[in-house]
Structures are given as C-alpha cells and as structure tokens.
Amino acid sequence: MGSSAISFEQVSHVYRGRQGLAFEALRSVTFDVPVGGSTAIWGRSGSGKSTLLNLVAGLDRATSGTVRVAGEELGALSETALTQWRGRNVGIVFQFFQLLPTLTVRENLLLPMEFVNAVPKSERHDRVDQLLDVVQIRDQGDKLPAHLSGGQQQRAAVARALVNQPEIVIADEPTGNLDASSAQAVLELFGALRAQGVTLVVVTHDEQVAARADRILELRDGQLVDMRESTS
C-alpha cells in the first residue's frame, strides 16, 4: 500500500469548558493509514471518534502530538494554509449531508471548485456531470436539496466531497441517517472510491460499515484500544 496518507503520533485533544473544566477526548493516539487504503474508526458514542475525524480533516487542532495528513504536518499550518490544504486534499462527507439549502445540487458541487480553484473553470460543469453520473443522481442536479431523499442527498454530499479530486475522503457516520437500501448504495460508492485509489476514512459506530474497511481502529474513552485488519 505504499507510504502513509495519515499519521498520528501521540495525539491528544482536550476540550475546555467555559468554567475551565477540561475533558480529554483523545489520549496519546498513534496510528498510520496507508495511501489508498480504507480505514474505519469505530467506537461507541463519546469514544472520541468524531474528535479524531476532526483532527484528520483539519477541522480542529490537536492539543499535543503530531498529526500528519497528505504529507503535511497540520499543526504547523496557519489557519489560512490549513483551509487551502483541506480544500485541495480532503473531501468531507458530513453526517447530516450539510448541503447548502439555497443552492441546487449542481451548484453545491460547483461551489467547492470555486472556493479552491483547483479545477479550471471550463472543466467544472463537465466534472459535475461526471460526478453526478457516478453517484447516479444526474437527473436531480437542478433540484434543491430539500427536494431530494436522504439517500440522494448523501450521494450528492459524496459527489461534492470528490469535486476537487482529493487524496483523502473522510465520512462521518455516512449511513447514520439512511434507510438500508440507501446505505447500501452509499457503501458501494465508497467501494468504488477505494478502487480509484482514494484514501477513505469512515467514522462509524456500525460494525457492518466498519467491517467493509481494510482496517478498523477501535476507540474507547479517547484511547486507541484496537487496530486490526478487517476480515471481510
């Protein structure tokens, strides 16, 4: 599988409340995710998996330790550089889709390209069509998110995560709000991404979803308690 796409070394993260109360969400976590691999971060609610995902995506910063993703040490990047890095290297699929409600599906896909400016303007519409074909909702492209089913919205969210051709795609409970058939379709989509060499990190508390990954990292109370190859 080659070199590491993601590398965590003794990473801890502490949340501080308004009255100074501290809560250690991650404790000295160390692991690597190889390039092109798929990894599931599995654990119960409150185990620290969302915190870990936020650190991988550069949505939050570690309190201590080193986080290296797509060749960059994220702690060393300024907020501006971190934003630019994230736009070019990471695609995020949120738990509640988080499509912008005032934009059509097509516009939701065009917006990240406009932000990052990595895809030439002349190619953007073709890229959107191509991705909508991949996620099989091209006919829904001119609709607002509110007019789509949950499964269709999640597919749109996946397509949006891919528009800037990121090396890494991170998904937070991607099937948590979907019915069984929609969840199956999304998981198949992730399978296709793996085939294209995209590094995939999925946060889930669903054992069946986790089992589809190459590797499973199990978190409990902020600690990495198990790291195993998937048997599926």
């Binding site: 939050d60 934003t83 994230r86 995020i92 409600p101 516009e107 607002l144």
Partner: protein, 790 residues
C-alpha cells in the same frame, strides 16, 4: 405557571444579546413617542396658560387719550372683563457703535395693576423708575443690554438720541421673541414717556372681553359709539385674533412630531417582530419537545407572550422615562422659540400612562404573529428541525452568469422572506425619514435663500411716514456703496372686517404692510398662485390688491374677488382683491404705485427704499451711514434690514421646524442602523453551520467575508432603493405640513444629495460592521464548533 415564568426567564437569559436588542428597539420607540406626545402636552398647556395669564386684549381702540373715566365707563359695559390703557411708540435704539435696531417702546398705565396685555417682571425694578425701562427678556441679545445698562433711543421727531436706563427685564408672552424679528421691546411708565418728550397720554384702550369674536365685536361697536357720543376721535379699532403670533408654526411642528413619533413606534414594532421572530426560530426544537410532553399551543404561546411582555413592558418604562426627559428639554427649547418663560415642564401623568401602554402593546402586538406561528409548529418537524430550510424552486434563469458564491449570497439574502421584508422596510423607513428631513430642510433653507437671492437689493429701509420719493432716492444714492435706490410704496394698513361681522366697516383685525413695487420692478420673490398681478394700464374703479398667503391665513375674507376697505389712519379706500401671491414674508398686501397714491392720498412719495449696492460693499456699513443720513433729514426708519439680516431672521423663524427635522433625522439614523445591524448579525449568526461547511470545503477567510458582505450588501441595496422611493411621499407630506400649515408657502420638492450620500455611507459602514463582526467570529472559530452550532 411558575414553571412557565421560569422557562420565560431562562429563555431571556439564554438569548441575552437578542433580548437586549429587542429591549433597546422598544425603548427607542417608547422614547420617541413619549418625547413627541409629552412635548406636545407640555407646550399646548403652557402656551394656553401663558397666553391666558397675559390676558391679551380682544379689542384695541385708538383714540386721543385714554383716561380713568373712559376706562371706568368701558369696564361697566356688558361683555367686558378688563380694561387698560397703553401706548406704543416706534423708536430706534443703538445696539452697537452706530448700529441701530427698531425698539417698540410701550407705555404702560400702571405696572402695579396691569389688567390687560399683562407683562411680568423677570428681574430688576418693578415698576421701572422714571427715566428707565424694562427690556423684554427675548430682546436682550438684540439690544446687547442687561439690567443696569443704558439704552440710547432715538424718538421720531427728535434730533438727538436720549438715554434710557435698563431697570430690569420683563416678559411679554404676547410678543414673538425679539431675537427672531431682530427688534427690541421695552416698557416704561407714562411719566418716562413724558420725560422723553412724548407726552404722558396713552392712546390705546385695551379691552378684554368674554371669549368669542362676536362678543369682541359687540364690545368694539359699543366703545366706538361711546367715544363718538363723547366727541372723542376713533383713530383705529382692532379685534385681535387672540392667538400666539407663532401658533401656526407650533401647530405644524407638533403635527410633524406626532406623525414622526408614530413612524418611530412603527419602526420599533417592526424591529421587535423581526428580533422576536429570530429568537423564536432558535427555539423550534424546544417547542417540539414541549408539545411532545403535553404543552398545548396556548400554553406555549403564553410562555412566549410572557417573555415578550416582560421585555416590552420594561423597555417601554425606561424608554418612556427617557422620553419624558427629552420632552422636557424639547419643550424648554420650543418655549424659547415661542417666547414662553418659566414654564412648568411636568408631563401629564395620563399622557405618560397612555404612551407607556402604546409603547408596550404596539410592539407586543407585532410579536403576536411569530408567537402564534412558533406555538403551532408541527411536533415532528420541530424536533427534527435542521435549522433554516429552503424548499422553494430556485429562480436561476437570470443568475446563471453569476458565480455560484454570488448566487449563494443573493439567495441567502432572500432566504427568510419575512425577515428580509421587515429588515428592508425598517431600514428603508429610517432612511426615508432621514432623507425626508434633509429634503425638507434643504427646501426650507433653499426657499429662503431663493427668496433673498431674487432680490436685487442688499438693504431695505421702511419709514414711519412716506417721504418725497425724489429726496429719498437722492439722499440714499449719496451713501457710499449704493449703486441704485429703488423707491417702494409702503404703509401699514388695515382691512375692514366683513360687513356681517361689524356694522361700522372700520374695524380691522390688525395692520399689515401694504407695499407698492415700482412699475417695471418685478416683485420677483412672490409668485402669483391665484388671480393676477394688477397692471397700471387697466381701467378700474376700486384699488386692486394682491395679498400674500400669510395675510390670507390671518384674514380669510380677503379671497380673490372679495371687496374690502383699506383703512389707513382716518382714510378709507374701497379695494378689490385680485390676486394671491406666495412668498416667504410677513403678512403683506401689494398694490400698484398708482393705487398706492389713491390709498395714501399723495403722489410722488415713498414709504420704503431698497438699495442695490456695488459689488463687494458691506451692507452693514451702508446701513450705518444710511441711518445717519436718515436721522439728519428727519426721516424715521421703522425697519432697516440688510439682506443677510433678513435671511437670518427668516431662518430663525423656521428654526423650530429645522430642529424638529434634524431631531427626526437623528432618531431615524439610530433606529434604522439598529434595525439593520441587528438583523444582519442575526442572519450571519443563524448560518454559522453553513459557514462551517463552506470552510470545511476550502473557503478561505476572504471568500467567506465576501460571501457574508455580499449578502448584507444585497439587503442594504434593496433598503436604499426602497428608502429612496419612500422618501418621495414622506418628503412631500413633511414639506406640505411645514410649508402650508406652518409657513403658508408651497415648498418645492427638493432632493438632498448629501442625505443620500450620508445614508449610503452610513448604511455601507453599518453593513460592514454588522456583518464583519459575526463573520470574523465565524472565520476564527474552528470548523468543528461552527458545524456543531445550533
């Protein structure tokens, strides 16, 4: 209910910032309404009290000498409530080295027993000792003399000025402030009149009668009969309108204040609805939970209503108390403009209570719709409320050429249609009020400037009695700096009241300037609005007069076509009103020079001269030299004013309206800016999750700022457009009230580009500040926090 109260209070604490803004919006509305209605209550009461306490004369009869026997006989007449005697002597007073002003010197029968047209002591001696005078307090700044000073007074017919000590200050509520008309008033005993060589006799019989014009007219008729029976002359009879000289100004100003205060209340109610709606939007999920555990819509509505009532009630109390203070300050200022003195500033408690109720319940009523909507929300939808939804079909046909981020900003601006409309309307109302205030301010000052600028002369002098035109012109043209002297006919004349009002046909309501512009000299500052300007060539029997609208307002019987009698001393001349003109001037009438000759019974004489000055010459220095020349020739000026002084006097007359307009503009800016900034902040805050998503997708800080600012700019731009549109009818209304009701002129519609620029700049700055604060906060926060935001 105790838990409901606890819930309402907890909600208040949880949404502290919004609740504080809501409170502030309601408090400002309450303050504006209280200030307007409080000031109105104080002023109406105090004007009436002050005027009544002065016991103004309803009838004034001029005869040779009003003695005690005459006063006694008149006092026994039915309908007579008080009798006194007075005399007015028009003098000139030196206010600085060789600078003279008009001084109206009143001889008062007995300062210890003034029965009609009362004057009150302000400070110093009472009565003034022989050889001294009391100066009306509002004229102190004109005369530049305080108690203890000495007035140098020139009396008609006397060559040398005479000294008159200032023994104290007096207040005469029936006079307009001296500083407004640039003249002084002083009060002396008959003995002092005698010392000045004017004789001790008093020629005005002043009579207070029962209320109503009919009673006054009956008394006037009886007094005339009495004098005729006694073989005494009746030189003139006036029936006073018995209203304050600036009553029309005040009525217009108070009407404007009330209308504008009502607009402020409407603004604050709109703002309250907007803010409260956004507070409730944050609680949709809670409403769902409350319903799920058994809360009925009525009970939930009661909780929110309690919350709104707590905010509006407390804000209205504080706002109303602040408004009482503003009302007192404004009433004190307006009192100075109306020459009220020592006025009681207490605002009646019923007015305070009514304003508090209105300021509480109007915004509360405006919050009812958001409350009803929030309490009726469907439980399932409320619990899964993902925040703001948008399910309208996008109208993208015209937007395809725009970038997606610009489309996003545009649609976000319109996302909450109700909030957008409320924001636009409240901000636009503020802008429209500012623009209307500035437009009318500009119209007023512009009309004054135009009226003054249209005059070719730089100085005008009017005389007590007409003098030879040739001599006047020759003398005036010898004064250094005078290019040309234009003689005008000018006398003070009365118009007989309609025959059905008085049987004698010699009773007038007052005396006004009757002016005759020379043939060929167009009276440029007056515009004919009805009828025509008479020409010297047309054949006619009666004198043809043109009245200005100020005179028509005082003497409504002088409409076009009306026949009247012009009364000038013992002369009377039949006249027909042939036209009405509009101008910024005191009540006046105009005739041709030929008709003027018929009125005064003399030809080749003039009562006024207007002087055209050489360029660069100081009108003030010409006035000084002219005053000396006139004194030398024995011509006594009753009015001598430079163009600059005339302009200042005109603007002073409008000052109260100008201040009201400026106060209005300030209130508009405050409420409008508050409205826009709060709703914009709320808009940004309510979309922090989306900002987080954009940031997660790679939007840079600059891109996010642009997105948010563009969104704010859309709202601002629409508001500006609506404000411009709204300002047109609002300016027309304010201009109509200020012009027609207060000043009796039609103010031209004027646009103030400065106000538009100020509003655009303020709005832009406000948009940047309102959006950038929350935007910076959102940009700085980690994406995790933004996405977790509800």
């Amino acid at each position: 209910m105790r838990m409901s109260v606890a819930k309402a209070m907890a909600d208040l604490r949880a949404q502290g910032a919004k609740a504080a803004l809501l409170w502030l919006a309601i408090a400002i509305g309450a303050l504006a309404v209280m200030a307007a209605f409080g000031a109105r209550a104080v002023l109406e009461r105090e004007v009436a009290r002050s005027f009544d306490e002065s016991r103004p004369a309803a009838v004034v009869v001029w005869t040779d000498d009003v003695d005690a026997a005459l006063m006694k006989r008149v006092s026994m007449m039915p309908g007579v409530e008080g009798v006194d005697a007075r005399r007015l002597v028009r003098t000139r007073v030196e206010v600085a080295d060789k600078t003279w002003r008009s001084l109206l010197l009143y001889g008062v029968r007995d300062f210890a027993d003034i029965r009609v047209s009362r004057v009150h002591s302000v400070d110093g001696a009472w009565p003034p000792p022989p050889g001294s005078a009391l100066v009306e307090r509002s004229a102190v700044s004109v005369l530049a003399k305080q108690t203890g000073g000495t007035l140098s007074v020139r009396i008609p017919g006397a060559q040398e000025p005479q000294a008159l000590a200032v023994a104290g200050l007096a207040h005469d509520p029936a006079q307009a402030p001296g500083w407004q008309d640039n003249l002084g008033y002083a009060y002396v005993t008959p003995a002092t009149l005698g010392q000045l060589g004017l004789g001790t006799q008093l020629d005005q019989l002043q009579v207070d009668t029962a209320a109503g014009r009919t009673a006054a007219q009956a008394v006037a008729t009886r007094v005339q009969r009495l004098l005729a029976d006694a073989g005494r002359p009746v030189l003139r009879v006036e029936i006073s309108p018995r209203k304050h000289p600036h009553a029309d100004h005040m009525r217009a100003m108070l009407l404007l204040l009330r209308v504008l205060a009502a607009l402020s209340l409407l603004l604050s109610a709109l703002l309250a609805a907007n803010l409260f709606g956004s507070m409730l939007a944050r609680q949709t999920r809670e409403v769902g939970v409350m319903k799920a555990i058994g809360g009925s819509p009525a009970r939930i509505a009661r909780i929110f209503l309690l919350l709104a009532a707590t905010v509006s009630g407390s804000a209205a109390i504080v706002g109303a108390l602040g408004g009482v203070m503003v009302a007192k300050r404004f009433a004190r200022f307006a009192g100075e403009q109306l020459n009220l003195y020592d006025i009681a500033l207490s605002v009646p408690s019923d007015v305070v209570a009514l304003v508090w109720l209105a300021a509480t319940f109007v915004p509360l009523a405006a919050t009812l719709w958001p409350i009803v909507r929030a309490s009726r929300v469907n439980v399932r939808e409320a619990i899964r409320d993902p925040g703001i939804q948008w399910d309208r079909a996008p109208r993208t046909a015209g937007l395809r050429r725009l970038s997606v981020s610009l489309r996003l900003s545009l649609r976000n601006s319109l996302r909450r249609r109700g909030r957008f409309v409320l924001t636009v309307v409240s901000f636009a109302l503020g802008g429209a009020m500012l623009m209307a205030a500035a437009n009318v301010h500009r119209s007023l000052v512009g009309a004054v400037d135009e009226s003054v600028e249209q005059r070719a002369d730089g100085l005008e002098v009017r005389f007590l009695r007409p003098a030879s035109t040739t001599e006047l012109v020759a003398a005036a043209q010898k004064v250094d700096g005078v290019q040309r002297a234009i003689p005008w006919g000018a006398v003070l004349a009365g118009f007989s009241l309609p025959q059905e009002a008085t049987a004698d046909g010699r009773t007038v309501a007052g005396r006004y300037g009757l002016l005759a512009p020379p043939n060929g000299e167009r009276h440029a500052s007056a515009t004919v609005v009805q009828g025509r300007w008479p020409s010297k060539d047309e054949g006619h029997y009666a004198v043809r007069i043109v009245v200005n609208r100020q005179l028509l307002a005082l003497e409504p019987h002088l409409r076009v076509g009306a026949k009247t009698t012009l009364l000038l001393g013992q002369r009377s001349t039949s006249a027909t009103v042939v036209g009405v003109v509009e101008e910024i001037a005191p009540a006046s009438a105009y005739v041709t020079p030929e008709d003027m000759a018929r009125v005064i019974g003399q030809t080749q004489v003039s009562g006024a001269v207007r002087l055209v000055l050489h360029e660069g010459v100081s009108a003030a220095s010409v006035a000084t030299e002219l005053e000396a020349v006139l004194a030398e020739r024995g011509w006594f000026p009753v009015y001598l004013m430079t163009k600059e002084e005339l302009r200042a006097a005109m603007v002073d007359h409008f000052m109260i309206l100008l201040v009201v307009l400026l106060a209005l503009a300030a209130a508009a800016i405050l409420v409008g800016v508050l409205g826009l900034s709060t709703t914009m902040s709320i808009n940004v805050m309510s979309r922090r999750r989306e900002i987080g998503v954009s940031k997660a997708m790679g939007a840079s800080a600059g891109q996010l700022r642009r997105l948010i600012l563009t969104e704010g700019a859309v709202t601002t731009a629409v508001s500006l457009l609506v404000a411009l549109l709204l300002s047109v009818p609002l300016s027309a209304f304010v201009g109509y009230v200020a012009g027609s009701h207060g000043l009796h002129v039609t103010l031209p519609y004027t646009t103030s580009p400065e106000a538009i620029v100020v509003w655009v700049l303020l709005a832009s700055l406000n948009t940047v500040l309102a959006c950038l604060g929350p935007a910076e906060d959102a940009v700085r926060r980690p994406v995790r926090e933004l996405i977790a935001y509800e």
